[in-house]
Amino acid sequence: MSLRSYIVSRVLLTIPMIMLLLTLVFIILRIVPGDPALLHFEKNVDPEVLAQFRAQLGLDKSIPEQYWDYLTGIFRGDFGLSMQDFAPITDHLVGRFPATVELALYSMLIAVGLGVFLGVKSSKKYDSNTDQGIRLFGIVTYAIPVFFLGMIFQFIFSIWLDWLPTGQRFDPRMGAYMPERITGLYTIDSLLTGNLVGFVTSLRYLILPSLTLGLILCGVFIRLTRTNMLETLRQDFVVAAEARGLSERTVTYGYALKNAFLPILTMIGLQFAILLAGAILTETTFNWPGLGTYLVGRIDHRDYTAIQGTVVFFGILVSLVSLFVDILYAYFDPRIRL
């Protein structure tokens, strides 16, 4: 199969996947007990107000009609109106999305970078104290709850040592240095505009949340890298490379890791969903103004339409990332690429 036909079939496969996801979210929110509109108000609401409220959100229509509006809306990029203020949910999502992307990106970098590095180290020193230590580290970080690790970091680095801020994305007192919005990622925008103070400030705010989330996720990568490296290091072609006198670095990274990396790549795709779940907790712990805090806020207000919109948005995001990872996989493996 050529790479192109692989990509086409993989993209086509994503469409029913997303359709299924959209339908499931829709159904689940409809079978949850309680009338969302009724829950929105205090007791004894005027039936006319209630009817008007329903009409505004389209909740007075029949279920199939609602479903149709919902689907067509999403394909236009319209995630519906919030029950709270009737503002388009899309605006909220777009506004807060970059914050979550920035957090997710740096966390993933830390998780994969640290995880792969320690995993390789562990496999090279198989069965030694280093190996045991790294494995223990992996299990412990994997098992710690996100918010707990976040709070410990806040306690040590913010309150005790006073090195880093406890939360938020930027210092409100330094509004003048606030990065101009280009991509919405503060660290990148500030670099693009040459705003060094803005860069350092946004980085300082980013360190604790992304370190928390990154450490939690890196355990999986340590274990996965270690297992796959142990397997590849024993392969004939690795020994053959050593027998040709290639340097240790080339053998470890160019031969063993290069072949062990494909499963790690798959894991990055799979972990993305867990990353978003972790982001919700991390964002809450660090008061990070991303999609996670938005979702939690909406849940607090029983804002059904906004919850539906955000969950669908997360779902589509995960599908697209796994599509991208699968294509990357095919690109990197010459046996699939052909």
Partner: protein, 336 residues
Amino acid sequence: MTDLLRIENLVVEYATRRGTARALDKASIILEENKTLGLAGESGCGKSTLGRAIMRLVPYPGKIIEGEIFLNLDQPVSVKTEDIPMGEVNLMNLDEDQMRALRGRMIAYIFQDPMTSLNPMLTIGDHFIQIMQAHDPEIEDEAALDRAKEILDGLGILPERVTDYPHQFSGGMRQRVMIGLGLALRPRLLISDEPTTSLDVIVEAQILEQMAELKDKFNLTMILITHNLGVLAQTADDIAIIYAGRIMEHASTDALFGNPQHPYTKALLEAVPDVSKPEKKLTWIPGAPPDLMDFIPGCMYNPRCPHAMDICRTTVPTLIKSKSGGKVACWLYEEE
């Protein structure tokens, strides 16, 4: 003739959870320049371990416990830490960087399974570029590729296939690529570990013929590890028979086939099927090779040997000169 390789009393042990297995026990071999030495023995007897030990690449958890490996270098080899001078050098005294400089450059190793010996993520050309640049950082990619094409052409593979990946080649072609990689830097010693076991007989014959041609062309000294005595009869000058980690007999091919000394060698030759005598029944050696974890006092072969005497069960025989002109480790003989 000078000796290219001399191994003295090499001991290799594998430390496992069950205990320590002695894979090689005081193995000594001598290999003259431009000759082919065959290492023969049953599966698990230590012949591959011996080949790997020469590269000092014994697989984990194996370890060289003691012994000397002398390699005669016809030219100095430059290393970033400390250059290796010309002449006889004890590989056991070299550091890791020095060993790495010798691997691929002076000693080449060809593995049993060509299907798994090439990196599936790299093109054939990349493999050549890497080995050349590992030993000569100055060489450019282009020059290395040109050289690779030349080598492949010489082995009967279309030069333009350097850009192909290993999975696009057949087993025989991959083994030729492995041989090409092995010979890319004109090494002195080529160790081939059952190079044709996983190939069919026709390809096996082609590869062996090609190796013999290359040996003459490049003045190679070869170690051929195999359990196929028929292959050795055609290709080897000398043969060492290994049993349970010990050298049982070490003689010229003619002497070994014409006048085998050790009871084990005799039994092995007896078990080789003969196509010219189809009526002859297949024979085998009763019993099984010992578990290397078990301690067997005396000669390792004594439990299976029809001539075993009391001394065989108590004292290890040493390698002594035999009547056939070779060496044998057996109490049936006395030093000539």
